[in-house]
Amino acid sequence: MDENNVLMRIQGLTTNFHTYAGVVHAVDDMTLTIPKDSVVGIVGESGSGKSVTMMSVMRLIPSPPGRIEGGHVWFDGTALRMPDRMEKDGPNKGMVDLLSLSAEAMMKVRGRHIAMIFQDPMVSLNPVLTIGLQMTESMVVHGLATNKEAWKRAVDMLALVGIPNPEERMRDYPHQYSGGMRQRVMIAMALSCNPELVIADEPTTSLDVTVQAQILELMKELKVKLKSSIIIISHDLSIVAGMADKVVVMYAGRVLEEANVYDLYEKPGHPYTMGLMKSVPRLDAEDRERLVPIEGSPPDLLAPPIGCKFAPRCKYAMNICREQEPQLVTVGEGHRARCFLHHPTAPAVPGFVKVG
């Protein structure tokens, strides 16, 4: 990938939660690159570390018990306008490590350069403040607009996300909006400061299916209109596939596979991804194929398995899978997977495309 085209690079991010029961390894050695002007999807089951990764990027992990133990979150320094904090040399030249910023400097990044859309719009808006105040405050605190200008822009943004009578609705409170409308407000709010990156954490999960479709449609529309990169987190592969250029599959706090949407569907490089595909209904299925669940449940992150984290549930697991954790290896153009089946001496598996 062109080095100038990188917006954010997560490198070796490790986040643990220190609980009374022990240390939960929520995110372990996470590595991920977000190109500029792109949509990256992150899929995984509950507890796979998708949200914790993003909350770590935002540095909003509740601490205690959470702690970011290591790694870097490099972000385009030119966009941040922090020339003095930029790396002078090396592979991350011109980038700023968000994890090294002071709390005050980080505050200037949140909302302004990285904005977030949360899962449940019913609880993500403050019930006692007007939509107007909640819409305008980020623009005002980031010094992008005066109260009056922010109000105008907020009205425009509400109109853009399809709220009827935006001028009037600015004075309303969240309870006067429906769930879908509130999510539209959340989206408008996230986009109001023109952030370089928008993180949408399960933006449609808590909405009913018709509203889900509308929100996804809106996000696709806005993606074309506005110049933000989007990270869309979901447990639903179909939602991610419909929007993302690149998909990252997470499991037990790590990346198992990373590929563009086409490659992921055509030649999945990990048995877990294959399992995910089979468990999602497809419109183009010829017969009435039965959905195949992935047997078992995700590992206990208090005491994860020693080898590959997916080995206990993997149909093709070999001896080595239970003893040693595979590395993330490149298996194609922009396609990486963490599986021993790619090793030259591994047995062939039907439906699985080996490297080379």
């Binding site: 200037k108 403040l129 605190v141």
Partner: protein
């Protein structure tokens, strides 16, 4: 809104009348009467006294007469303080109790709420432990101990303030702190737990994700949400503090309403018991009404206005 207020005012009057009636009849169940003394008075004198205060009328007539007077705002003469009416007693005592009460409430709110917020922000840190320890002391130490302790330290020991009496600003300090002790502790605990609850809410994460400073997150996004439970307890708390505390007023020799209330029960001073009870309940009902109005102001979800449905 006007309709709501009107309805509430009517129901408030009803509540006070019910309290008045219940107290009127229950009081008469007390053994002996207002003129029983250790040394028995001659029967004729008691008879004369009862005639003078219409206590020899049938009970229903006494009740009807009292209620008629009550509606005119006349609470009747005191049986104990022969030259004074109950209205006089309340007029004299209440401003004193209320003045003390206002200071105590300001102290309670001004100290209790910030302490609670501070504790919550430093959850499980030494500051939090300190706040919770002080709050535990505050709710468990009875106010007569607190009063004596404060007197001992600040009046006798440090000579900063007079030990007792009424009339100067310096004399308010000790009784006000004594009176505020429990509310401070109670509010601190309440605010701390509500704050912790609110800080866990998603909308706080949203606010932080927008890049707001911690100060804005706390004061704009969290504070208003924690004030709802605080206001709920504040109504009755203010009523209790305003009407005076018998113990505190006794210890600090303050001529407030509280001590009349207790002595009137011992003396079976029917009119004073009734009058002060009615006054207290009216105040309580009124403050609860204010609490409800404040709710509406704090929380848009419970506004009592009919709004257009969109």
């Amino acid at each position: 809104m006007l309709k709501f207020i009107l309805q509430r005012v009517l129901s408030m009057i009803l509540v006070v009348l019910i309290v008045a009636s219940a107290t009127f009849f229950m009081m008469r169940l007390l053994p002996s009467g207002p003129f029983s003394r250790e040394k028995k008075l001659p029967a004729q004198i008691i008879k004369n006294l009862e005639a003078r205060y219409h206590l020899d009328d049938p009970l229903w007539k006494q009740y009807v007469d009292y209620m008629k007077n009550l509606l005119r705002g006349d609470l009747g003469p005191s049986f104990k303080y022969t030259d004074r009416t109950v209205n006089n007693i309340i007029n004299d005592g209440f401003p004193v109790s209320a003045a003390l009460g206002v200071v105590a409430v300001i102290l309670a709110v001004g100290i209790g709420i910030p302490l609670g917020i501070w504790g919550a922000l430093k959850q499980n840190g030494w500051q939090d432990n300190l706040v919770m320890f002080v709050a535990l002391l505050g709710v468990s130490v009875p106010n007569f101990i607190m009063a004596v302790l404060l007197m001992f330290i600040f009046a006798l020991g440090l000579h900063l303030v007079p030990a007792a009496g009424w009339g100067s600003i310096k004399q308010i300090i000790l009784p006000a702190f004594t009176l505020a002790g429990y509310p401070i502790a109670f509010l601190a605990r309440l605010v701390r737990s509500s704050m912790l609850e609110v800080l866990r809410q998603e909308y706080i994460t949203t606010a932080r994700a927008k890049g707001l400073s911690e100060r804005l997150v706390i004061f704009r996004h969290a504070l208003r949400n924690i004030l709802i439970p605080v206001v709920t307890v504040l109504g009755p708390l203010i009523a209790a503090v305003f009407t005076g505390s018998f113990v505190v007023e006794k210890i600090f020799a303050i001529p407030g309403l509280g001590r009349y209330y207790v002595t009137s029960i011992n003396d079976r001073d029917y009119t004073t018991i009734l009058g002060v009870t009615i006054f207290y309940s009216a105040l309580l009902v009124f403050l609860n009404f204010m609490v409800d109005l404040t709710y509406a102001w704090l929380d848009p979800r419970i506004r009592y206005v009919e709004r257009k449905v969109s």
